[in-house]
């Protein structure tokens, strides 16, 4: 198709404001008479909140309000299930918010947050996803699922016994990936206020303003039409701004005090207030025939969902669907699991479940190539998806599968320099 503007190196209009430092991120906006919100977070991974004493904090001059679970009209939010409390009275991870302090200055709010006394009843915690899968371990979300296995996705294609019979070479190996933080440069920040219309306005950085609006409205018992989420410049996201972080807490404070509320995470608070990339344990067994064709693959993938569901079901589904890599394998058996633990909750992050399995399936390819004494490029050329290929889920790729072109472009670069 002939295009003139599409396909051209048009300059980004927003870049100018950014190079001059004019672009407004949520931390950069203020309103007269605003108060500052600071969250009190749980230091324990699994506990019940017996009691919160706010007396001392409230006595501090400049403190306007201290709010906790009992102050939230509908105390839940979440992208798939509303399993995450706005302010928790039942703690499932270190960093769960239990209270929020609103004060005239940030310094007062921080000092007062230290004076909020929370009496925790500690409970046994589980941090290893495989241990968490055991039936005798206390389920973290009995209302969602009877055990900590939030999700299991099986993929069955072809016949495994037939597949293994065709395999001349088999590689079996375990792989592990780690917890990753998005580490976007701009920590969470926002400004929430009730405007002249009586509407709740939240100016923030998010990946989905309309979702935030719905969750704020739900938690506070407002109509969607009474809540405005206005996205300011977003200082990086990568999946870490999909779940609610401070939005509802700030809106709640603004609603209760009728003062504009400014909140800004420190970097440390930021680490505790958004999701993480799922660490995964992957057991892979892959077989190829001596002509270098993949014939069978089995994989078991366990993803640590942490304390809340967030996107875990979708993430582990994506892991399973992509577990073969971009290769045709006629006989496949894949099982992926999302498991609750008392670790920081896992959610969306760039790559979304397909990032972890790359380590496994591409390592398997190189290991197979070595056994078969063919080059890493060659084994990929013999197996990669083309138009008409069928994936492990039985999906036929009907168009636009130019992996061959990608490999052709890469091939000339597969030469290395000298050791030193």
């Amino acid at each position: 198709m002939n295009t003139t503007v599409v396909g051209s190196r048009v300059l980004r209009e927003d870049a100018w404001g950014k190079v001059f430092g004019q672009t407004k991120f949520p931390a950069d906006v203020n309103l007269p008479d605003q108060i500052y919100g600071v969250v009190v977070r749980s230091p324990y991974p699994h506990a019940r909140v017996r009691e919160i004493s706010i007396t001392q904090a409230m006595e501090m001059p400049g403190v306007v309000a201290v709010l906790s679970a009992k102050d939230v009209p509908h105390n839940s939010h979440g992208v798939l299930f509303r399993d995450q409390p706005v302010l928790a009275d039942y703690i499932r991870m270190v960093g769960d918010p239990v209270a929020v302090v609103g004060a005239e200055t940030l310094e007062i709010a921080r000092a007062a947050a230290k004076l909020v006394q929370v009496d925790y009843e500690l409970m046994p915690a589980v941090f290893d996803p495989e241990e968490a899968m055991l039936p005798e371990v206390l389920p973290l979300h009995p209302e969602l699922c009877p055990t900590n296995i939030l999700y299991h996705m099986p993929i069955r294609r072809g016949a495994m016994d037939k597949g293994w019979a065709l395999a001349d070479v088999v590689i079996e190996q375990d792989y592990r990936t780690q917890h990753i933080d998005h580490a976007f440069l701009q920590p969470e920040a926002l400004l929430a206020y009730v405007d002249e219309r009586g509407h709740m306005v939240v100016q923030t950085a998010t990946q989905y303003a309309h979702y935030d609006r719905g969750e704020i409205a739900h938690a506070l018992g407002l109509r969607f039409s009474q809540v405005q989420v206005k996205t300011l410049a977003v200082g990086g996201a990568f999946g870490g701004r999909e779940d609610i972080s401070l939005q509802i807490i700030a809106a709640l404070m603004a609603l209760k005090t009728l003062r504009p509320v400014k909140m800004e995470n420190t970097r440390e608070e930021s680490f505790y207030s958004h999701s993480k990339r799922h660490p995964m344990r992957m057991h892979y067994k892959t077989g190829a025939s001596k002509d270098g064709k993949l014939v069978a693959m089995e994989a078991k993938i366990i993803g640590d969902a942490g304390a809340y569901a967030s996107w875990s079901i979708n993430v582990l589904r994506k892991s399973a669907v992509h577990a073969t890599g971009p290769y045709e394998i006629p006989n496949v058996s894949i099982d992926s699991y999302a498991v609750f633990t008392n670790n920081p909750f896992s959610g969306a992050m760039r790559g979304f479940g397909a990032a972890q399995t790359v380590l496994a399936y591409e390592s398997q390819m190189d290991l197979l190539a070595k056994e078969l004494k063919i080059s890493p490029l060659e084994i990929r050329l013999r197996n990669h998806f083309r138009v008409g290929s069928t994936t492990a889920t039985g999906q036929v790729l009907t168009s636009s599968v130019p992996l061959d072109q990608c490999l052709a472009k890469i091939a000339p670069y597969l030469q290395k320099g000298e050791d030193t």
């Binding site: 396909g7 209009e13 699994h46 979702y211 790559g351 380590l359 990669h384 472009k409 670069y413």
Partner: protein
Amino acid sequence: MKKRGIGIGCAWYGTGYGNGFPDVSSAFVEIHDDGSATVLTGAVDVGQGSNSIYAQIAAEELGLESQDICVYSADTDVTPDSGTTAATRQTYNTGNAVLKAVRQAKSRLLDYAAREFSCPTIEGIELKAGYIGIKGDPSRRMPLADMVFKARLHGQRLISAESSTARSTPVDLETGQGAPYWPYAFGSQMAEVEVDTETGMVSVLKVVAVHDVGKAINPTQVEAQIAGGVAQGLGYALLEELELQEGRIKNPALSSYLIPTALDVPNIEAFFVEEAEETGPFGAKGLGEPAMLPTVAAVINAIDDAVGVRITSLPATPEKILHALAVKKEELAKK
């Protein structure tokens, strides 16, 4: 000793929410009296540049320049819902919604213009370089602004609202069979590394990344997405790890949770392959997430190529590499 190795990694990625989840984007468009236009969408530009992509799509369709288009996004009082900026879906999904909306507003203009030019079908009308006129007759054209203004005086309003939905179906719960995502994006990367056999330190010397984008709506932004993805992939492969102790984060700081600096990222050669995705706006599909996928594999495979050890758990720290080298040495000694 410092040993070099190269590695290759391939990846694929099903874009969109997938599994039959309604994956809908919306857009409002208004063409103004002076021939400029405003696009409203709920799609948040998180820095990747989606607003600029929508401006290009709208400008292309209206025969305007990108700077003639104002894109305003993600204000719930003003803009329609366009879904999450996630799942590598905003160029594709919201791009499609913007294109549909622009076409709808444009078709009203074309209808009006066809009458003005006494042309029995809008097929005979074209928008080009700020003008509207009869295809094949350069003498019969007028500035777009004049036509819009005329239309306005006749009570025509060139506004529109459209949605676009990606195709996806749920998979079978027992067998996982189904067509969960569309489209899929592909990519391949090569990494060259140098491994210090005494310290286990890995230097990445070069990365070449080739990605399938359907159509590069903005090549500069494509390259930028690729380089950013590679850098995150390098962090994932070599540096980053949240250290937990009983659920507590031991390194909740940028001085202890280490991401790559400018000196840790090598020269990145970014290429893209354009094979039009027929369902995408101007043939485009998404790139955001795929850009970071192959890097991990390329680096881990390159380490093996360099020093003959297979690192199976991320990140590939110097400790793990030295340990693997020691184990290998022991095994060789036994033989």
